[in-house]
């Protein structure tokens, strides 16, 4: 009897958390559309050198030192009109949505406190050279 109860409870919990995740997915998708898609495009492919590609690229930065910070310090992310918790959720969603193949095994999702600290130091024009530096590091380790 107890095991059935346990089973039902577990199923209920799993369904609840899946629904919550689905809700979060819709919310993150909406935030992506309103804050990012306009320039990075719906499929995240960007436009050449002007607007960086997200698809197939964004998770790569997590493999090199400075990359994790870079993803939040880029002006578009740091200045997004979202609270720290919503921004953390969005960035975590983007990594999985657009570049799951490069996500490191050891990846720990961004937390609001980390977002809060990083976004107080947004890049200025030096973001271009910083991105080039990180891409060179990535090339060196073939990531």
């Amino acid at each position: 009897m107890r095991s059935w109860l346990h089973l039902l409870l577990t199923i209920g919990l799993v369904q609840a958390s899946t629904t919550a995740l689905a809700d979060d997915g819709a919310r993150n998708r909406l935030a992506w559309m309103l804050q990012c898609q306009g320039c990075h495009r719906a499929d995240g492919t960007g436009t050449g050198d002007e607007v960086p590609a997200i698809a197939g690229q964004v998770s790569r930065f997590l493999h090199v030192e400075g990359g994790r910070e870079f993803l939040v310090r880029v002006p578009g992310v740091a200045s997004a009109p979202l609270g720290d918790a919503d921004l953390a959720a969005l960035v975590n969603w983007m990594l999985v949505e657009f570049d799951p193949g490069h996500l490191p095994e050891s990846f720990t999702p961004y937390e609001p406190a980390e977002i809060a600290a990083l976004r107080t130091r947004p890049f200025g024009p030096e973001v271009v050279s910083e991105r080039q530096r990180l891409m060179a590091l990535l090339k060196a380790i073939s990531k």
Binding site: D23, A26, R27, R29, L30, M33, L34, Q35, Q37, G38, C39, R41, A42, T47, E50, V51, G76, S79, P81
Partner: protein, 179 residues
């Protein structure tokens, strides 16, 4: 002074008598005025002459879930549109007029559909490549932010990533719905 007046009048009369109506000089005036029709700087576009008065016959989408007239500024999708309506320019609320290119970079906002009360995500893709349509100018600004937040600003010329950055008109494409 009077001598100058007399001379000016005489010179003008001589010129008028000698130039035909079709001469270059006669047409130069028209061309000079026409040049003023070249589109203003994008940010100034909203203050350009004209309001959203219809030059086109009224339209309907034929879909009760998408009510209203896409040639009018108060069509529900246009809650944050700033520019000429492609529906008045040989295109539609979702499509560019022939010969223009839809900009892949765009401004997105949400508008409430009166048919179901839901907020839809609208992508205001500009159509680019031909001179400004000049018809049905609308300027609504729900969710619009000042130019220091360029990604949220609808005054900018969003003809980016296209072969030509000459702005023709704006669409209001539904790309999603707010859950």
């Amino acid at each position: 002074m009077k001598a100058l007046d007399r001379w000016s009048e005489a010179a003008s009369r001589r010129l008028a008598q000698r130039s035909s109506r079709r001469s270059f000089l006669a047409n130069l005036g028209a061309w000079t005025v026409g040049a003023a029709g070249i589109p203003l700087l994008p940010v100034a576009r909203a203050e350009a002459a004209g309001t959203g008065g219809p030059a086109e016959p009224a339209q309907t989408t034929g879909n009760t879930q998408d009510p209203g007239d896409p040639t009018q500024c108060d069509y529900w999708r246009y809650c944050a549109i700033d520019g000429f309506l492609c529906s008045c320019c040989g295109g539609s609320q979702s499509a560019c007029p022939p010969g223009t290119e839809m900009s892949p970079l765009t401004w997105l906002g949400t508008c409430e559909n009166p048919a179901d009360g839901r907020s839809y995500v609208i992508s205001y893709n500009d159509c680019c490549g031909k001179t400004s349509c000049g018809r049905c100018l609308c300027n609504r600004n729900e969710g619009d932010r000042p130019p220091y937040r360029p990604g949220d600003n609808n005054d900018l010329n969003w003809c980016l990533g296209t072969k030509s950055s000459v702005y023709t008109c704006s669409t209001g494409v539904i790309v999603g719905v707010k859950e």
